[in-house]
């Protein structure tokens, strides 16, 4: 086993463990903290895949942005110290069944069908060409997604705004 493989398996175990904690922990704040660790694990996997820019974006946006947003929402809504509250609905059993079936299907298809690409391509310095492509070939989706962000921002403000006068 090479060093890369060892690092991969460590990171995979770390990420999956944190993800399980996100889904199964009873305290919602603990879930948010575990989510941070999951995001860090995925960012480290991006580095392992030579996608440094995406790793940086992952840390900035997910760890720095979305988690803070989630924590704000948790603080604003639920009572943190509420104990003995059921965290799962009554579909837990059948959900587990369906999820295991889908996971088995994906793993089976993966092992059965995909024989190509056992070794990665030679490493390329992707960040520079990423920036160039975003402003040339992909400039239209880039602009569309910025309009989407603007719309989402306005929508979030309107949805979260208190109504001035109650009828």
């Amino acid at each position: 086993m090479t060093v890369t493989q060892a690092v991969f398996f460590l990171l995979a175990a770390f990420t999956l463990g944190a993800a399980l904690l996100v889904v199964l922990a009873t305290n919602i704040v603990h879930c948010a903290i575990a989510l941070v660790f999951t995001f860090f694990g995925v960012a480290a996997l991006y580095v392992l895949l030579d996608a440094e820019f995406l790793a940086a974006v992952q840390v900035l946006l997910y760890v720095g942005g979305i988690t803070i947003l989630l924590l704000f929402a948790i603080m604003l809504t639920s009572r943190i110290s509420a104990r003995g509250v059921k965290i799962m609905n009554e579909q837990a059993g059948i959900s587990a069944l369906v999820v295991f079936a889908i996971l088995a299907l994906m793993v089976f298809a993966n092992l059965k069908g995909l024989v190509l690409a056992a070794a990665p391509l030679p490493a390329s310095y992707a960040t520079a060409s990423l920036g160039r492509l975003l402003l040339t070939t992909y400039v239209l989706p880039f602009e569309v997604v910025s309009i989407l962000l603007l719309a989402a921002m306005v929508g979030a403000i309107i949805l979260a705004k208190r109504e001035r006068e109650k009828d």
Partner: protein
């Protein structure tokens, strides 16, 4: 080196965990967290494919960037909706918000 299928299986497991959370959580914020897990699994797939398969224009990483952007927009709007729900129902448990249930 780590073969591509390892990454794909890891991503499938991450997706399955997120799906389980989205199906079983009662707290709406918990469901959003599980959704983020699923987004991450999909992104991991994109980046792994972009590293292992020949391509002309970095499609995998570019698409992952757009997925992250849309996920950020989704989180902002979703949490605003959760806040609105809490204001109207005094609860964020999705099984108690059943106004339109027949």
């Amino acid at each position: 080196m780590v073969p591509l299928s390892h990454y794909l299986i890891l991503s499938a497991a991450l997706f399955a965990i997120g799906m389980f959370g989205a199906l079983t959580r009662r707290n709406a914020i918990g469901i959003l967290m599980a959704l983020e897990l699923m987004f991450n699994a999909v992104n991991l797939n994109f980046v792994a494919f972009s590293r292992y398969l020949p391509q002309t224009m970095l499609q995998g990483q570019i698409f992952a960037i757009f997925v992250i952007t849309v996920a950020a927009a989704e989180a902002a709007v979703g949490l605003a909706i959760v806040l609105g729900l809490y204001r109207n129902f005094k609860s964020v448990n999705v099984d108690e918000i059943n106004l339109m249930k027949g």
